[in-house]
Protein backbone atom coordinates (compact mmCIF):
# COMPACT_ATOMS: atom_id res chain seq x y z
CA UNK A 1 0.00 0.00 0.00
CA UNK A 2 0.99 3.59 -0.55
CA UNK A 3 2.69 5.21 2.41
CA UNK A 4 0.38 7.64 4.19
CA UNK A 5 1.58 11.19 4.44
CA UNK A 6 -0.84 13.01 6.71
CA UNK A 7 -1.35 16.67 7.50
CA UNK A 8 -3.39 17.37 10.63
CA UNK A 9 -4.97 20.83 10.71
CA UNK A 10 -5.21 22.16 14.23
CA UNK A 11 -6.09 25.56 15.58
CA UNK A 12 -5.41 27.34 18.82
CA UNK A 13 -8.65 28.80 20.13
CA UNK A 14 -9.79 30.81 23.14
CA UNK A 15 -11.61 28.51 25.53
CA UNK A 16 -15.14 29.76 24.96
CA UNK A 17 -16.54 27.01 27.15
CA UNK A 18 -15.26 28.68 30.28
CA UNK A 19 -16.18 32.25 29.71
CA UNK A 20 -16.03 34.19 32.92
CA UNK A 21 -17.33 37.63 33.77
CA UNK A 22 -14.09 39.32 32.69
CA UNK A 23 -14.26 37.81 29.21
CA UNK A 24 -16.00 40.84 27.77
CA UNK A 25 -14.58 44.31 27.88
CA UNK A 26 -16.74 47.27 28.77
CA UNK A 27 -16.99 48.26 25.11
CA UNK A 28 -18.53 44.89 24.25
CA UNK A 29 -15.51 43.36 22.57
CA UNK A 30 -13.95 40.07 23.53
CA UNK A 31 -11.11 40.23 25.98
CA UNK A 32 -9.00 37.49 24.44
CA UNK A 33 -6.39 37.90 27.12
CA UNK A 34 -8.84 36.70 29.77
CA UNK A 35 -9.54 33.44 27.96
CA UNK A 36 -7.06 30.59 28.12
CA UNK A 37 -5.81 29.50 24.69
CA UNK A 38 -6.38 25.81 24.09
CA UNK A 39 -6.00 23.15 21.41
CA UNK A 40 -9.33 23.16 19.59
CA UNK A 41 -11.14 20.09 21.03
CA UNK A 42 -12.22 18.50 17.76
CA UNK A 43 -8.74 18.94 16.32
CA UNK A 44 -7.62 16.66 19.14
CA UNK A 45 -10.04 14.06 17.80
CA UNK A 46 -8.53 14.60 14.35
CA UNK A 47 -5.02 14.18 15.72
CA UNK A 48 -5.98 10.92 17.41
CA UNK A 49 -7.25 9.49 14.11
CA UNK A 50 -3.93 10.30 12.47
CA UNK A 51 -1.99 8.74 15.34
CA UNK A 52 -4.07 5.57 15.15
CA UNK A 53 -3.25 5.22 11.47
CA UNK A 54 0.41 5.62 12.35
CA UNK A 55 0.09 2.98 15.10
CA UNK A 56 -1.15 0.59 12.46
CA UNK A 57 1.15 1.68 9.62
CA UNK A 58 4.36 2.85 11.31
CA UNK A 59 5.87 4.30 8.13
CA UNK A 60 3.09 6.92 8.16
CA UNK A 61 4.38 10.48 8.41
CA UNK A 62 2.32 13.07 10.27
CA UNK A 63 2.80 16.82 9.99
CA UNK A 64 0.73 19.10 12.18
CA UNK A 65 -0.08 22.43 10.56
CA UNK A 66 -1.45 25.43 12.37
CA UNK A 67 -1.98 29.01 11.33
CA UNK A 68 -1.94 31.61 14.03
CA UNK A 69 0.19 33.98 16.09
CA UNK A 70 3.54 32.96 17.56
CA UNK A 71 2.09 31.40 20.67
CA UNK A 72 0.25 28.85 18.50
CA UNK A 73 3.58 26.96 18.49
CA UNK A 74 2.04 25.32 21.58
CA UNK A 75 -0.23 23.39 19.23
CA UNK A 76 2.75 21.88 17.48
CA UNK A 77 4.43 20.94 20.73
CA UNK A 78 1.23 19.23 21.88
CA UNK A 79 1.33 17.26 18.64
CA UNK A 80 4.98 16.32 19.08
CA UNK A 81 4.30 15.13 22.66
CA UNK A 82 1.76 12.70 21.24
CA UNK A 83 3.71 11.32 18.32
CA UNK A 84 3.52 13.50 15.22
CA UNK A 85 6.72 13.66 13.18
CA UNK A 86 6.93 17.38 12.65
CA UNK A 87 5.00 20.60 12.68
CA UNK A 88 4.69 23.85 10.80
CA UNK A 89 3.51 27.15 12.17
CA UNK A 90 2.03 29.32 9.46
CA UNK A 91 2.41 32.78 10.82
CA UNK A 92 2.56 36.25 9.33
CA UNK A 93 1.01 39.57 10.14
CA UNK A 94 -0.58 39.55 6.71
CA UNK A 95 -2.74 36.55 7.68
CA UNK A 96 -4.42 38.52 10.48
CA UNK A 97 -8.10 39.27 10.04
CA UNK A 98 -8.68 36.39 7.64
CA UNK A 99 -12.17 34.92 7.48
CA UNK A 100 -12.65 31.21 6.78
CA UNK A 101 -12.11 31.60 3.04
CA UNK A 102 -8.85 33.53 3.36
CA UNK A 103 -7.71 31.07 6.05
CA UNK A 104 -8.48 28.18 3.73
CA UNK A 105 -6.51 29.80 0.95
CA UNK A 106 -3.43 30.17 3.17
CA UNK A 107 -3.71 26.66 4.60
CA UNK A 108 -4.19 25.14 1.14
CA UNK A 109 -0.98 26.77 -0.10
CA UNK A 110 0.98 25.37 2.83
CA UNK A 111 -0.55 21.94 2.25
CA UNK A 112 0.44 22.03 -1.43
CA UNK A 113 3.99 22.60 -0.34
CA UNK A 114 3.93 19.67 2.12
CA UNK A 115 2.32 17.38 -0.48
CA UNK A 116 0.42 14.99 1.79
CA UNK A 117 -2.03 12.38 0.51
CA UNK A 118 -4.37 12.61 3.50
CA UNK A 119 -5.52 15.73 5.34
CA UNK A 120 -7.38 15.44 8.61
CA UNK A 121 -9.06 18.47 10.20
CA UNK A 122 -11.44 18.97 13.09
CA UNK A 123 -15.09 19.41 12.25
CA UNK A 124 -15.21 22.91 13.69
CA UNK A 125 -13.35 25.36 15.87
CA UNK A 126 -15.11 26.45 19.07
CA UNK A 127 -14.39 30.16 18.61
CA UNK A 128 -16.30 30.52 15.36
CA UNK A 129 -18.26 27.25 15.21
CA UNK A 130 -18.32 27.54 11.43
CA UNK A 131 -17.11 24.10 10.26
CA UNK A 132 -16.12 25.75 6.99
CA UNK A 133 -12.36 25.61 6.80
CA UNK A 134 -12.11 21.85 6.13
CA UNK A 135 -14.41 21.78 3.08
CA UNK A 136 -13.06 25.10 1.82
CA UNK A 137 -9.50 23.78 1.92
CA UNK A 138 -10.57 20.60 0.09
CA UNK A 139 -12.15 22.71 -2.67
CA UNK A 140 -9.02 24.85 -3.00
CA UNK A 141 -6.95 21.66 -3.32
CA UNK A 142 -9.50 20.25 -5.73
CA UNK A 143 -9.76 16.95 -3.85
CA UNK A 144 -12.75 15.10 -2.35
CA UNK A 145 -13.81 15.56 1.26
CA UNK A 146 -15.50 13.44 3.91
CA UNK A 147 -17.02 15.38 6.80
CA UNK A 148 -18.30 14.32 10.25
CA UNK A 149 -15.99 11.30 10.47
CA UNK A 150 -16.13 9.01 13.49
CA UNK A 151 -13.44 6.57 12.50
CA UNK A 152 -10.93 6.21 9.69
CA UNK A 153 -9.25 3.10 8.33
CA UNK A 154 -6.94 2.38 5.40
CA UNK A 155 -7.26 -0.69 3.15
CA UNK A 156 -6.04 -1.49 -0.36
CA UNK A 157 -4.97 2.09 -0.98
CA UNK A 158 -8.44 3.31 -0.03
CA UNK A 159 -9.55 5.34 2.95
CA UNK A 160 -12.70 4.05 4.61
CA UNK A 161 -14.62 6.38 6.87
CA UNK A 162 -17.60 5.93 9.11
CA UNK A 163 -19.40 9.27 9.23
CA UNK A 164 -22.36 10.80 11.05
CA UNK A 165 -25.47 11.89 9.23
CA UNK A 166 -28.13 14.03 10.91
CA UNK A 167 -30.15 10.90 11.58
CA UNK A 168 -27.84 7.99 10.96
CA UNK A 169 -24.46 6.64 9.96
CA UNK A 170 -22.81 6.22 6.58
CA UNK A 171 -19.69 4.29 5.59
CA UNK A 172 -17.85 5.65 2.56
CA UNK A 173 -14.70 4.80 0.67
CA UNK A 174 -12.35 7.16 -1.09
CA UNK A 175 -9.06 6.90 -2.93
CA UNK A 176 -6.17 9.17 -1.90
CA UNK A 177 -5.79 12.11 -1.70
CA UNK A 178 -8.77 13.13 0.40
CA UNK A 179 -9.59 15.57 3.20
CA UNK A 180 -11.48 14.35 6.25
CA UNK A 181 -13.07 16.35 9.07
CA UNK A 182 -13.50 14.60 12.41
CA UNK A 183 -16.24 15.33 14.93
CA UNK A 184 -16.43 15.02 18.70
CA UNK A 185 -18.09 11.62 18.53
CA UNK A 186 -14.74 10.12 17.45
CA UNK A 187 -12.34 8.64 20.03
CA UNK A 188 -10.84 11.20 22.38
CA UNK A 189 -7.15 11.88 22.02
CA UNK A 190 -4.50 10.02 23.93
CA UNK A 191 -2.54 11.79 26.66
CA UNK A 192 0.96 13.14 26.12
CA UNK A 193 3.62 10.48 26.04
CA UNK A 194 6.10 10.99 28.89
CA UNK A 195 9.14 10.14 26.78
CA UNK A 196 8.12 12.38 23.93
CA UNK A 197 7.39 15.15 26.39
CA UNK A 198 10.97 14.95 27.65
CA UNK A 199 12.30 14.81 24.12
CA UNK A 200 10.38 17.76 22.72
CA UNK A 201 9.99 19.96 25.79
CA UNK A 202 12.42 22.48 24.33
CA UNK A 203 11.08 22.41 20.78
CA UNK A 204 10.59 25.95 19.57
CA UNK A 205 10.32 28.24 16.60
CA UNK A 206 13.00 30.66 15.43
CA UNK A 207 11.08 33.58 16.95
CA UNK A 208 10.81 31.87 20.32
CA UNK A 209 14.49 31.03 20.14
CA UNK A 210 15.40 34.69 19.88
CA UNK A 211 13.53 35.33 23.11
CA UNK A 212 14.91 32.37 24.97
CA UNK A 213 18.48 32.54 23.72
CA UNK A 214 19.02 28.78 24.08
CA UNK A 215 20.39 28.41 20.58
CA UNK A 216 22.92 25.80 21.56
CA UNK A 217 20.25 23.17 22.33
CA UNK A 218 18.80 23.50 18.86
CA UNK A 219 22.23 23.35 17.27
CA UNK A 220 22.85 20.07 19.00
CA UNK A 221 19.37 18.75 18.37
CA UNK A 222 17.99 20.12 15.10
CA UNK A 223 14.75 18.12 15.49
CA UNK A 224 13.76 20.65 18.16
CA UNK A 225 13.31 23.37 15.61
CA UNK A 226 9.71 24.08 14.63
CA UNK A 227 9.43 25.54 11.13
CA UNK A 228 7.75 28.89 10.70
CA UNK A 229 6.35 29.80 7.32
CA UNK A 230 5.20 33.24 6.27
CA UNK A 231 3.41 34.64 3.26
CA UNK A 232 6.52 34.45 1.06
CA UNK A 233 7.26 30.84 1.99
CA UNK A 234 3.95 29.72 0.54
CA UNK A 235 3.85 32.20 -2.36
CA UNK A 236 0.57 33.68 -1.25
CA UNK A 237 -1.13 36.53 -3.05
CA UNK A 238 -1.55 39.32 -0.48
CA UNK A 239 -4.85 40.37 -1.97
CA UNK A 240 -6.38 37.00 -1.07
CA UNK A 241 -5.29 37.20 2.57
CA UNK A 242 -6.39 38.96 5.71
CA UNK A 243 -9.18 41.49 5.63
CA UNK A 244 -8.85 42.22 1.91
CA UNK A 245 -9.11 38.52 1.04
CA UNK A 246 -12.17 37.99 3.20
CA UNK A 247 -15.57 38.31 1.48
CA UNK A 248 -17.33 38.43 4.84
CA UNK A 249 -17.02 41.47 7.07
CA UNK A 250 -18.18 41.96 10.62
CA UNK A 251 -20.56 44.88 10.62
CA UNK A 252 -21.47 44.86 14.27
CA UNK A 253 -20.80 42.95 17.48
CA UNK A 254 -23.17 42.97 20.38
CA UNK A 255 -22.61 41.67 23.83
CA UNK A 256 -25.37 39.31 24.85
CA UNK A 257 -27.49 40.78 27.58
CA UNK A 258 -30.57 39.30 29.09
CA UNK A 259 -33.51 41.62 29.10
CA UNK A 260 -35.09 40.89 32.43
CA UNK A 261 -38.83 40.34 32.27
CA UNK A 262 -41.20 41.20 35.05
CA UNK A 263 -41.78 37.71 36.37
CA UNK A 264 -44.42 36.44 38.70
CA UNK A 265 -43.06 34.58 41.72
CA UNK A 266 -44.87 31.54 43.04
CA UNK A 267 -44.00 29.41 46.04
CA UNK A 268 -43.94 25.67 46.34
CA UNK A 269 -47.33 25.12 47.95
CA UNK A 270 -50.53 23.50 46.69
CA UNK A 271 -52.72 26.57 46.88
CA UNK A 272 -50.46 28.86 44.85
CA UNK A 273 -49.72 26.20 42.24
CA UNK A 274 -53.41 25.38 41.95
CA UNK A 275 -54.22 29.02 41.32
CA UNK A 276 -51.54 29.24 38.63
CA UNK A 277 -52.85 26.17 36.82
CA UNK A 278 -56.40 27.53 36.82
CA UNK A 279 -55.09 30.74 35.29
CA UNK A 280 -53.13 28.88 32.58
CA UNK A 281 -56.18 26.80 31.69
CA UNK A 282 -58.38 29.88 31.52
CA UNK A 283 -56.04 31.78 29.22
CA UNK A 284 -55.67 28.65 27.01
CA UNK A 285 -51.94 28.25 27.53
CA UNK A 286 -52.73 24.68 28.50
CA UNK A 287 -55.94 22.70 28.46
Amino acid sequence: MKKLKIVVLAKQVPDTRNVGKDAMKADGTVNRGALPAIFNPEDMNALEQALQLKDKYPDTEITILTMGPGRAADIIREGLYRGVDNGILLTDRKFAGSDTLATSYALSLAIKKIEPNLIIAGRQAIDGDTAQVGPQVAEKLNIPQITYAESISYQNNNIIVKRRLDNGIETVQSPLPVLITVGSSATICRARNAKLLMKFKHACTQSELQEKSNDYIIQQRPYLKISEWGVDDVDADDKLLGLSGSPTKVKKIENVVFTAKESKIINDNEAEINELIIELIENHTIG
Binding site: V133, A138, P144, E170, K251, V256, S263, I277, I286
Partner: protein, 339 residues
Protein backbone atom coordinates in the same frame (compact mmCIF):
# COMPACT_ATOMS: atom_id res chain seq x y z
CA UNK B 1 -33.02 41.92 -10.34
CA UNK B 2 -31.00 39.03 -8.97
CA UNK B 3 -33.05 36.51 -7.06
CA UNK B 4 -32.85 34.59 -3.81
CA UNK B 5 -32.06 30.91 -4.06
CA UNK B 6 -32.75 28.17 -1.52
CA UNK B 7 -31.13 24.73 -1.72
CA UNK B 8 -33.76 22.14 -0.79
CA UNK B 9 -32.58 19.10 1.07
CA UNK B 10 -34.45 15.92 0.22
CA UNK B 11 -34.65 12.60 2.01
CA UNK B 12 -36.93 9.87 0.64
CA UNK B 13 -38.67 12.28 -1.69
CA UNK B 14 -39.61 14.66 1.12
CA UNK B 15 -38.25 18.20 1.39
CA UNK B 16 -36.66 18.71 4.81
CA UNK B 17 -38.37 21.03 7.27
CA UNK B 18 -35.30 23.23 7.47
CA UNK B 19 -35.56 23.92 3.72
CA UNK B 20 -39.25 24.84 3.97
CA UNK B 21 -38.43 27.14 6.89
CA UNK B 22 -35.78 28.81 4.74
CA UNK B 23 -38.17 29.15 1.80
CA UNK B 24 -40.57 30.99 4.08
CA UNK B 25 -37.85 33.34 5.28
CA UNK B 26 -36.47 33.78 1.77
CA UNK B 27 -39.93 34.62 0.45
CA UNK B 28 -40.24 37.47 2.94
CA UNK B 29 -36.76 38.71 2.07
CA UNK B 30 -37.62 38.56 -1.64
CA UNK B 31 -40.65 40.76 -1.04
CA UNK B 32 -38.42 43.34 0.65
CA UNK B 33 -35.92 43.19 -2.19
CA UNK B 34 -38.60 43.09 -4.84
CA UNK B 35 -37.04 40.02 -6.45
CA UNK B 36 -38.05 36.42 -7.03
CA UNK B 37 -37.62 33.23 -5.02
CA UNK B 38 -35.86 30.26 -6.60
CA UNK B 39 -35.42 26.75 -5.23
CA UNK B 40 -33.01 23.97 -6.19
CA UNK B 41 -33.82 20.29 -5.73
CA UNK B 42 -31.39 17.52 -6.64
CA UNK B 43 -32.14 13.82 -6.28
CA UNK B 44 -33.64 10.72 -7.75
CA UNK B 45 -37.44 10.77 -7.85
CA UNK B 46 -38.48 14.38 -7.71
CA UNK B 47 -42.00 14.35 -9.17
CA UNK B 48 -43.66 15.40 -5.92
CA UNK B 49 -41.22 18.22 -5.13
CA UNK B 50 -43.06 20.99 -7.04
CA UNK B 51 -46.25 20.55 -5.08
CA UNK B 52 -44.27 20.46 -1.83
CA UNK B 53 -42.44 23.74 -2.41
CA UNK B 54 -44.77 25.98 -4.44
CA UNK B 55 -47.08 26.79 -1.50
CA UNK B 56 -44.07 28.50 0.07
CA UNK B 57 -44.06 31.11 -2.65
CA UNK B 58 -41.40 29.67 -4.97
CA UNK B 59 -41.41 31.32 -8.41
CA UNK B 60 -38.92 29.06 -10.10
CA UNK B 61 -37.83 25.54 -9.21
CA UNK B 62 -34.68 24.00 -10.68
CA UNK B 63 -34.95 20.21 -10.72
CA UNK B 64 -31.95 18.00 -11.34
CA UNK B 65 -33.04 14.39 -11.50
CA UNK B 66 -30.45 11.63 -11.71
CA UNK B 67 -30.48 8.03 -10.47
CA UNK B 68 -26.96 8.46 -9.11
CA UNK B 69 -27.98 11.37 -6.94
CA UNK B 70 -30.45 9.70 -4.62
CA UNK B 71 -28.18 10.34 -1.66
CA UNK B 72 -26.23 13.50 -1.04
CA UNK B 73 -22.61 13.41 -2.19
CA UNK B 74 -20.26 16.35 -1.90
CA UNK B 75 -18.69 16.63 -5.34
CA UNK B 76 -21.69 16.13 -7.66
CA UNK B 77 -23.91 18.36 -5.53
CA UNK B 78 -21.22 21.05 -5.33
CA UNK B 79 -20.79 21.12 -9.07
CA UNK B 80 -24.51 21.27 -9.78
CA UNK B 81 -25.29 23.94 -7.19
CA UNK B 82 -22.29 26.08 -8.11
CA UNK B 83 -23.15 25.64 -11.79
CA UNK B 84 -26.73 26.80 -11.27
CA UNK B 85 -25.53 29.77 -9.21
CA UNK B 86 -23.16 30.76 -12.01
CA UNK B 87 -26.02 30.80 -14.48
CA UNK B 88 -28.85 32.26 -12.41
CA UNK B 89 -26.62 34.60 -10.36
CA UNK B 90 -28.67 34.84 -7.19
CA UNK B 91 -27.83 37.72 -4.86
CA UNK B 92 -28.58 35.56 -1.82
CA UNK B 93 -28.28 31.78 -1.40
CA UNK B 94 -29.50 29.92 1.68
CA UNK B 95 -29.20 26.34 2.89
CA UNK B 96 -29.90 24.41 6.07
CA UNK B 97 -27.16 24.19 8.69
CA UNK B 98 -27.64 20.43 8.65
CA UNK B 99 -24.83 17.94 8.08
CA UNK B 100 -25.60 18.22 4.36
CA UNK B 101 -25.76 22.02 4.24
CA UNK B 102 -22.61 22.35 6.31
CA UNK B 103 -20.79 20.00 3.94
CA UNK B 104 -22.07 21.64 0.76
CA UNK B 105 -22.16 25.33 1.71
CA UNK B 106 -18.45 25.88 2.38
CA UNK B 107 -17.49 23.84 -0.66
CA UNK B 108 -19.68 25.94 -2.97
CA UNK B 109 -18.56 29.18 -1.35
CA UNK B 110 -14.92 28.21 -1.79
CA UNK B 111 -15.55 27.38 -5.44
CA UNK B 112 -17.31 30.68 -6.15
CA UNK B 113 -15.09 32.64 -3.80
CA UNK B 114 -18.12 34.08 -2.07
CA UNK B 115 -18.51 34.54 1.66
CA UNK B 116 -20.57 32.20 3.78
CA UNK B 117 -21.92 32.68 7.28
CA UNK B 118 -22.78 29.53 9.20
CA UNK B 119 -25.63 29.00 11.63
CA UNK B 120 -27.38 32.33 11.36
CA UNK B 121 -30.14 32.97 13.84
CA UNK B 122 -31.58 35.98 12.04
CA UNK B 123 -31.48 37.29 8.48
CA UNK B 124 -32.41 40.86 7.64
CA UNK B 125 -31.98 43.32 4.83
CA UNK B 126 -30.05 46.51 5.55
CA UNK B 127 -27.55 49.06 4.34
CA UNK B 128 -23.88 49.53 5.01
CA UNK B 129 -21.56 52.47 4.66
CA UNK B 130 -17.90 51.57 4.26
CA UNK B 131 -16.04 54.46 5.86
CA UNK B 132 -12.61 53.39 4.72
CA UNK B 133 -13.51 53.35 1.04
CA UNK B 134 -16.34 55.88 1.25
CA UNK B 135 -18.72 53.49 -0.38
CA UNK B 136 -22.42 52.99 0.28
CA UNK B 137 -24.04 49.56 -0.06
CA UNK B 138 -27.80 49.19 -0.05
CA UNK B 139 -29.96 46.14 0.55
CA UNK B 140 -27.30 43.80 1.84
CA UNK B 141 -28.11 40.61 3.71
CA UNK B 142 -27.41 41.02 7.41
CA UNK B 143 -26.32 37.59 8.59
CA UNK B 144 -26.77 37.58 12.33
CA UNK B 145 -25.31 34.82 14.45
CA UNK B 146 -23.93 34.08 17.87
CA UNK B 147 -20.17 33.63 18.15
CA UNK B 148 -17.67 32.94 20.89
CA UNK B 149 -19.78 30.22 22.45
CA UNK B 150 -22.87 32.41 22.32
CA UNK B 151 -21.36 35.26 24.28
CA UNK B 152 -21.59 37.76 21.46
CA UNK B 153 -23.95 38.32 18.57
CA UNK B 154 -22.27 39.31 15.33
CA UNK B 155 -23.79 40.86 12.23
CA UNK B 156 -21.87 39.70 9.16
CA UNK B 157 -22.16 41.14 5.66
CA UNK B 158 -20.66 40.37 2.26
CA UNK B 159 -20.42 43.75 0.53
CA UNK B 160 -18.67 42.72 -2.68
CA UNK B 161 -19.10 39.01 -3.31
CA UNK B 162 -22.16 37.21 -4.64
CA UNK B 163 -24.09 35.22 -3.77
CA UNK B 164 -24.30 36.23 -0.15
CA UNK B 165 -24.47 32.77 1.40
CA UNK B 166 -25.78 31.70 4.77
CA UNK B 167 -26.79 28.52 6.55
CA UNK B 168 -29.51 28.35 9.22
CA UNK B 169 -30.29 25.57 11.65
CA UNK B 170 -33.53 23.67 11.68
CA UNK B 171 -36.22 25.26 13.83
CA UNK B 172 -34.70 28.73 13.87
CA UNK B 173 -36.99 30.18 11.20
CA UNK B 174 -40.74 29.66 11.12
CA UNK B 175 -42.31 27.52 8.41
CA UNK B 176 -45.43 29.12 6.95
CA UNK B 177 -47.44 28.48 3.82
CA UNK B 178 -47.54 31.65 1.76
CA UNK B 179 -50.21 30.68 -0.75
CA UNK B 180 -51.43 27.13 -1.11
CA UNK B 181 -52.50 27.74 -4.71
CA UNK B 182 -49.24 29.23 -5.90
CA UNK B 183 -47.81 27.52 -8.98
CA UNK B 184 -44.33 28.41 -10.13
CA UNK B 185 -42.18 27.53 -13.08
CA UNK B 186 -40.36 24.17 -13.15
CA UNK B 187 -36.99 24.11 -14.91
CA UNK B 188 -35.59 20.62 -15.53
CA UNK B 189 -31.81 20.60 -15.85
CA UNK B 190 -29.59 17.84 -17.18
CA UNK B 191 -27.12 16.73 -14.52
CA UNK B 192 -24.53 15.77 -17.14
CA UNK B 193 -24.11 19.39 -18.01
CA UNK B 194 -22.52 19.95 -14.60
CA UNK B 195 -20.88 16.63 -13.75
CA UNK B 196 -17.79 14.73 -14.70
CA UNK B 197 -16.98 11.12 -13.94
CA UNK B 198 -14.44 11.88 -11.26
CA UNK B 199 -17.27 13.38 -9.19
CA UNK B 200 -18.22 9.89 -8.07
CA UNK B 201 -14.84 8.81 -6.64
CA UNK B 202 -16.31 8.48 -3.16
CA UNK B 203 -18.38 5.36 -2.88
CA UNK B 204 -21.12 4.88 -0.30
CA UNK B 205 -20.59 1.39 1.13
CA UNK B 206 -23.30 1.39 3.74
CA UNK B 207 -25.98 3.69 5.03
CA UNK B 208 -28.20 3.44 8.11
CA UNK B 209 -30.82 6.08 8.58
CA UNK B 210 -33.22 6.09 11.48
CA UNK B 211 -36.66 7.59 11.35
CA UNK B 212 -36.71 10.52 13.66
CA UNK B 213 -38.71 9.19 16.58
CA UNK B 214 -38.44 12.19 18.83
CA UNK B 215 -39.46 15.53 17.47
CA UNK B 216 -39.80 18.11 20.16
CA UNK B 217 -39.65 21.00 17.73
CA UNK B 218 -43.28 20.92 16.73
CA UNK B 219 -44.63 20.52 20.21
CA UNK B 220 -46.75 23.34 21.70
CA UNK B 221 -45.78 22.45 25.23
CA UNK B 222 -42.28 21.47 26.29
CA UNK B 223 -41.36 20.29 29.75
CA UNK B 224 -37.61 20.57 29.85
CA UNK B 225 -35.25 19.18 32.45
CA UNK B 226 -31.76 20.21 33.45
CA UNK B 227 -28.99 18.90 35.62
CA UNK B 228 -31.05 20.01 38.63
CA UNK B 229 -33.58 17.25 37.97
CA UNK B 230 -30.93 15.06 39.55
CA UNK B 231 -31.36 11.69 37.85
CA UNK B 232 -32.85 9.78 34.96
CA UNK B 233 -35.27 8.36 37.49
CA UNK B 234 -36.52 11.85 38.41
CA UNK B 235 -37.13 12.64 34.74
CA UNK B 236 -40.22 10.42 35.00
CA UNK B 237 -42.07 13.32 36.67
CA UNK B 238 -41.33 15.40 33.60
CA UNK B 239 -42.58 12.69 31.24
CA UNK B 240 -45.75 12.44 33.25
CA UNK B 241 -46.31 16.19 33.20
CA UNK B 242 -45.58 16.36 29.47
CA UNK B 243 -47.98 13.55 28.82
CA UNK B 244 -50.89 15.09 30.76
CA UNK B 245 -50.30 18.44 29.04
CA UNK B 246 -50.00 16.80 25.60
CA UNK B 247 -46.42 17.99 25.23
CA UNK B 248 -42.88 16.65 24.88
CA UNK B 249 -39.86 16.43 27.15
CA UNK B 250 -36.79 18.56 26.40
CA UNK B 251 -33.44 18.74 28.16
CA UNK B 252 -30.38 20.88 28.72
CA UNK B 253 -26.99 19.71 27.57
CA UNK B 254 -25.88 19.07 31.13
CA UNK B 255 -28.85 16.70 31.52
CA UNK B 256 -28.04 14.99 28.21
CA UNK B 257 -24.36 14.68 29.12
CA UNK B 258 -25.32 13.16 32.46
CA UNK B 259 -27.38 10.57 30.60
CA UNK B 260 -30.74 11.74 31.96
CA UNK B 261 -32.17 12.24 28.46
CA UNK B 262 -31.52 11.53 24.76
CA UNK B 263 -29.52 13.94 22.63
CA UNK B 264 -32.53 14.34 20.32
CA UNK B 265 -34.22 16.18 23.19
CA UNK B 266 -31.48 18.75 23.71
CA UNK B 267 -32.59 22.35 23.42
CA UNK B 268 -30.13 25.12 22.68
CA UNK B 269 -27.28 26.23 20.53
CA UNK B 270 -26.06 22.71 19.84
CA UNK B 271 -29.49 21.15 20.05
CA UNK B 272 -32.80 22.23 18.60
CA UNK B 273 -34.39 25.64 18.70
CA UNK B 274 -37.96 25.62 19.94
CA UNK B 275 -40.70 28.21 20.27
CA UNK B 276 -43.64 26.50 21.97
CA UNK B 277 -46.65 28.14 23.58
CA UNK B 278 -45.37 26.99 26.94
CA UNK B 279 -41.84 26.05 28.04
CA UNK B 280 -41.42 24.69 31.55
CA UNK B 281 -37.75 24.73 32.58
CA UNK B 282 -37.18 22.34 35.48
CA UNK B 283 -33.83 22.58 37.24
CA UNK B 284 -32.21 24.48 34.38
CA UNK B 285 -29.86 27.32 35.25
CA UNK B 286 -30.33 29.17 31.97
CA UNK B 287 -26.89 29.51 30.43
CA UNK B 288 -26.86 31.48 27.20
CA UNK B 289 -26.29 28.34 25.09
CA UNK B 290 -29.53 26.92 26.45
CA UNK B 291 -31.67 30.05 26.35
CA UNK B 292 -30.59 30.73 22.74
CA UNK B 293 -32.77 27.76 21.82
CA UNK B 294 -35.91 28.61 23.80
CA UNK B 295 -36.15 32.31 24.61
CA UNK B 296 -38.73 32.84 21.86
CA UNK B 297 -41.24 30.64 23.70
CA UNK B 298 -44.56 32.43 24.25
CA UNK B 299 -44.56 31.65 27.96
CA UNK B 300 -41.73 30.42 30.15
CA UNK B 301 -42.14 28.87 33.58
CA UNK B 302 -39.02 28.19 35.60
CA UNK B 303 -38.91 25.73 38.47
CA UNK B 304 -35.67 26.12 40.40
CA UNK B 305 -34.50 25.92 44.00
CA UNK B 306 -32.32 28.94 43.38
CA UNK B 307 -34.45 32.06 43.20
CA UNK B 308 -31.57 33.89 41.49
CA UNK B 309 -31.00 31.37 38.68
CA UNK B 310 -30.35 33.29 35.43
CA UNK B 311 -33.26 31.53 33.71
CA UNK B 312 -35.61 33.36 36.07
CA UNK B 313 -34.74 36.62 34.37
CA UNK B 314 -36.43 35.54 31.18
CA UNK B 315 -39.19 33.52 32.83
CA UNK B 316 -42.75 34.82 32.99
CA UNK B 317 -43.46 32.70 36.03
CA UNK B 318 -40.92 31.57 38.58
CA UNK B 319 -41.72 28.74 40.95
CA UNK B 320 -39.11 28.56 43.66
CA UNK B 321 -38.80 24.99 44.82
CA UNK B 322 -37.56 21.47 44.26
CA UNK B 323 -38.52 19.84 40.96
CA UNK B 324 -39.54 16.60 42.64
CA UNK B 325 -41.95 18.41 44.88
CA UNK B 326 -43.31 21.07 42.49
CA UNK B 327 -43.93 18.94 39.41
CA UNK B 328 -46.23 16.40 41.13
CA UNK B 329 -48.22 19.33 42.54
CA UNK B 330 -48.68 20.74 39.04
CA UNK B 331 -49.83 17.36 37.73
CA UNK B 332 -52.33 17.03 40.58
CA UNK B 333 -53.64 20.57 40.11
CA UNK B 334 -54.02 20.06 36.37
CA UNK B 335 -55.90 16.80 36.82
CA UNK B 336 -58.18 18.34 39.42
CA UNK B 337 -59.09 21.32 37.28
CA UNK B 338 -59.65 19.56 33.97
CA UNK B 339 -61.81 16.70 35.14
Amino acid sequence: MNNISVFCEIENGIVADVSLELLTKAYHLSEKLNCKLEAIAIGNKLNSIPKQVFPYGVHKLFLVEDRRLEFYQTLPFTHIVAGIFKESKPQIALMGASNVGRDLGPRVSSKLNSGLTADCTELEIGDFYDKKNDKQYNNLLYQIRPAFGGNIIATIINPEHRPQMATVREGVMKKEIINKNNIGEVVNLDSNKYLNNTDFVIEILERHVEERSINIKNSQVIVSGGYGVGSKENFKYLYELASVLGGEVGASRAAVDAGFADHARQVGQTGVTVRPKLYIACGISGQIQHTAGMDQSAMIISINIDKDAPINEIADIVITGDVSSVVPKIIAAYKKNTK
